[in-house]
């Protein structure tokens, strides 16, 4: 038993009894590294497929700093990327406390290891909370948009190019819209949830407000989204089909449909890793408190979960770059 977990006793075992340490690393540590290698390849698969879709739709992909502009408690303030930058710092800092815990473990200082582990767990929880808030804001959306029959997305701006919320100009035209529910159907199907506005309300409201213009998904030479003239805008709106608000797996108000899918999938998968990292850290934290590693005279277990925790940080560094910066 002891032979597989600790370095100190492992070296005293016979070579074929598990005491062999190829490449100078214990079995547990080596396997953690190879797991990390395979997991890193999984994540690079996701990010590379994100890159594939982005290259495929190079001219129409959403611009990230126009999407993530929110900061908690700052309503209506345009704060691109500050929030994700803060999240990055939280995660890097929890990585620092983790490596300090490993360092204290090498010197067999039990209390120090416990304190640093606790700080790491807290950092992980704060990060998870931040990500939940980020998702909430992303799903809820802010301005709303119109989808055309051809699948393009039309957003609304004023004369200065500032985004306009569809609530601000849509008329309210009384209609008899009823949300179809499963219980009323022959087949047990329900319709999509009815939005706040019908397409007609948005289109008529647009016609009544000469100051509003349409912004398309297309990126122009100045690397900004193209804004149409009033006449072109009215022509575009003839193809209006759906009012889109917020984001789900089918469509989102930010731009290309795949954008939200990749966002949910990649940040979700990373968030799941953070969550499992926190769980592992809690388990190890209790083992430290109970003195398990004190008895073993080796804190290598802290080092192993530490590797996983740093890996989570490493992945976030790449997600941050490819989702928010590039």
């Amino acid at each position: 038993m002891a032979a597989t977990v600790t370095t100190t006793t492992a070296t005293t075992e016979k070579t074929w009894g598990g005491g062999n340490e190829p490449m100078g690393a214990s079995y547990g540590k080596m396997m953690m590294w190879f797991f990390i290698l395979s997991d890193a390849l999984t994540f690079s698969g996701f990010l590379a497929s994100y890159g594939f879709s982005r290259f495929k739709f190079m001219d129409t992909w959403p611009i990230a700093d126009e999407v993530f502009t929110h900061f908690p408690f700052l309503h209506g303030v345009d704060a691109p990327m500050y929030y994700v930058a803060l999240m990055t710092f939280i995660l890097i800092f929890s990585s620092v406390t983790m490596v300090l815990a490993v360092d204290a473990g090498h010197q067999l200082k039990k209390t120090k290891v416990a304190i640093y582990m606790l700080l790491t767990i807290l950092g992980g929880l704060v990060f998870l909370g931040s990500q939940a808030w980020e998702w909430k804001t992303f799903i809820k959306g802010e301005y709303g948009a119109i989808e055309t029959t051809g699948g393009a997305l039309l957003q609304f701006v004023d004369k200065e190019g500032e985004r306009v919320n569809i609530d601000d100009f849509a008329l309210s035209i009384p209609t008899e819209r009823v949300n179809h529910t499963e219980s009323n159907g022959i087949w047990f199907e329900s319709s999509d949830r009815l939005g706040d506005h019908t397409v007609e309300e948005v289109v008529e409201g647009f016609k009544a407000n000469p100051d509003v213009l349409i912004r398309t998904e297309w990126i122009n030479e100045d690397k900004q989204k193209t804004i149409l003239s009033r006449e072109e805008s009215l022509e575009k709106l003839q193809n209006a089909k759906l009012v889109v608000r917020g984001a789900n797996l089918e469509r989102n108000e930010y731009g290309h449909k795949l954008f939200a899918d990749f966002f949910f999938f990649i940040t979700g998968f990373h968030g799941f890793h953070v969550f499992s990292g926190v769980v592992l850290n809690i388990i190890i934290f209790f083992n430290v408190i109970l003195g398990t590693y004190e008895k073993r005279k080796s804190y290598e277990m802290v080092e192993k979960v530490g590797l996983y925790w740093h890996f989570v940080d490493l992945v976030w560094v790449f997600v941050f770059t490819f989702f928010y910066l590039v």
């Binding site: 100078g24 930058a85 890097i92 800092f93 620092v96 490596v99 740093h310 941050f320 910066l325």
Partner: protein, 116 residues
């Protein structure tokens, strides 16, 4: 490593400083987007994106070498991890981005409109 009991605290805080500075530089560049970098392309990517990618790789290096302590492992172990990772990722990214760009050109040159 595990057998040497001296502390690495100083090194840890230095690396934390380096990572913070890089992140701050990235965010500042991302917010101001200097035209000279943002509007000059090199191999289908603008210079700003190249800077972001290089800085990210530098960050990854520090996390793996200092925090994950690869610098203290035997070099055979270190490279058995890093070499497959680097090779396979470059290979995958190269193939997928080439293909993505090819599909973009097909969409672009075709007589059909795809998004309208």
């Amino acid at each position: 490593m595990a057998h040497s009991h001296e502390s690495n605290v100083k090194r840890i805080w230095t690396v934390f400083g380096i990572l913070s500075v890089i992140t701050i530089v990235e965010v500042a560049l991302g917010i101001y987007k200097p035209d000279a970098l943002f509007k000059t392309d090199l191999f289908k990517l603008n210079l700003l994106n190249w800077i972001f990618i290089i800085l990210t790789v530098v960050k990854a290096y520090y996390i793996m070498w200092a925090f994950m302590h690869l610098e203290g492992e035997k070099s055979s172990f270190r490279w058995s991890i890093v070499a497959p990772m680097v090779f396979l990722i470059i290979y995958l990214v190269f193939i997928l981005l080439m293909e993505g760009n090819y599909v973009y050109e097909v969409f672009n040159d075709s007589p059909y409109k795809w998004i309208f």
